[in-house]
Symmetry: C2
Subunit: 243 residues, 2 copies
């Protein structure tokens, strides 16, 4: 682990990168303890605050965790699917909100990704995951449900669909995309009729998953995409005409 003394970059950024590289190439392995801050400061010939800034950068990416006390220190963290998922959601959410990504683009991406796991989910979903989908559909029929709760239930439904594929890599990638769209979805107020239409399609999809019919499930998702776009367009048009 070395840094370039001639680089113009911040020392803390260089040190963070050096440690990160060491983790990536396997020089530092999971749960291994890094040298203490004082030792690192000595090694890199910098002060302790600089080392600390570097370590905080790594901690922000869940690459290390720190513990106080006698046997404490910084340890290489096993990046969990949960951590990765959380990062993915934050990144995607900010990306969508900061880059004027159109509703159409985000929607297309979301449903394309979901269709990708429909066939897998139809084959592998557990009874529990199917039950979750049914339960969320039922929740969505309740008339007193707020818009936020309806959207949250929608996310839970799709999350169960994605998890049904039984592939944690897919789950982590897709759940991020689906959840990141929630703020955009929350901008739309669904009428009772819209909700009924969505629930009907959800039922079709759940039935297809139930029967192991992956292609049908994918077709259901395509219909849902079309419906969602139609509803969104209606809302945006209404807003544009009433400024």
């Amino acid at each position: 682990m070395k840094i370039d003394p001639n680089s113009s970059a911040d020392l803390s950024a260089q040190i963070a990168q050096a440690i990160k590289d060491a983790i990536i190439i396997g020089e530092l392995i999971v749960d291994q303890r890094l040298p203490s801050e004082a030792e690192l400061a000595d090694h890199f010939q910098v002060s302790r605050p600089t080392v600390r800034e570097a370590l905080k950068r790594l901690a922000a990416q869940s690459l290390i965790r720190t513990q106080r006390g006698a046997t404490g220190g910084a340890f290489v963290n096993r990046l969990s699917f949960e951590d990765a998922h959380a990062q993915q959601v934050t990144t995607s959410t900010l990306l969508l909100s900061m880059n004027a990504v159109s509703f159409e683009t985000a929607c297309e991406a979301r449903y394309a990704l979901e269709r990708a796991c429909a066939p897998l989910s139809a084959k592998r979903r557990s009874a529990d995951q199917l039950a979750t989908m049914r339960a969320e559909i039922f929740r969505q029929t309740q008339p007193n449900l707020s818009d936020e709760a309806f959207c949250a239930s929608d996310v839970a439904f799709h999350r169960a669909l994605v998890d049904g594929a039984g592939n944690p890599v897919l789950s982590y990638q897709l759940a991020g995309a689906v959840e990141a769209m929630q703020p955009l979805m929350n901008m739309i107020t669904f009428t009772a009729r819209d909700r009924a239409s969505i629930v009907a399609l959800h039922s079709q999809i759940a039935d297809a998953i139930d029967q192991g019919a992956g292609t049908d499930a994918a077709q259901g998702l395509t219909k849902l995409e079309t419906e969602t776009l139609r509803m969104a367009q209606k809302v945006f048009e209404t807003r544009a005409s009433k400024p």
Copy 2:
């Protein structure tokens, strides 16, 4: 922006979260300048090093950028697709290397995701993207190509396929998944026969994309997935029998 004085968490983590929240809810907008470190220290009633640790955490996530000098400071950064993509690759790579994700699982996820954009790519790909695919296929036929170069070309081919969908959200998500698999793919040494088989399938896929036949392209990807798994299995079996 406030922090909880009774929380047991690190002050720098709390402050970073507070600022992050402010960015997410839009209280701080892109390119807006944050208060200076001294002002933040005063606001949160902590010392400057603590504030700095918080800011470095945010910088590590590309949420802010800092500038030195008279009119310098920390500014809310517009998260670019490029930044998001880089983060995605790092996260996915570490996730795969640290969690003993099987080759099968990663492979399945990758091809499922790629199949999702095959129909879009068949409709929308530019002439340039198609030319890139053809060029990479040609490169892959060169006999003197090293294993690393072959894999890199493979990534470039699939990257062009994904970009062909013309959906930046999809590109950012999928390119991450594809690139993260490269270290796993690099573990496999392809025989000349394997390469020929891969190139033939790549040609099939490119032809399908050329003709706007999304379904055919997806089928080609499925064949490629099967082939890749078969080759990987062969390699792993050989290794297991010769320890």
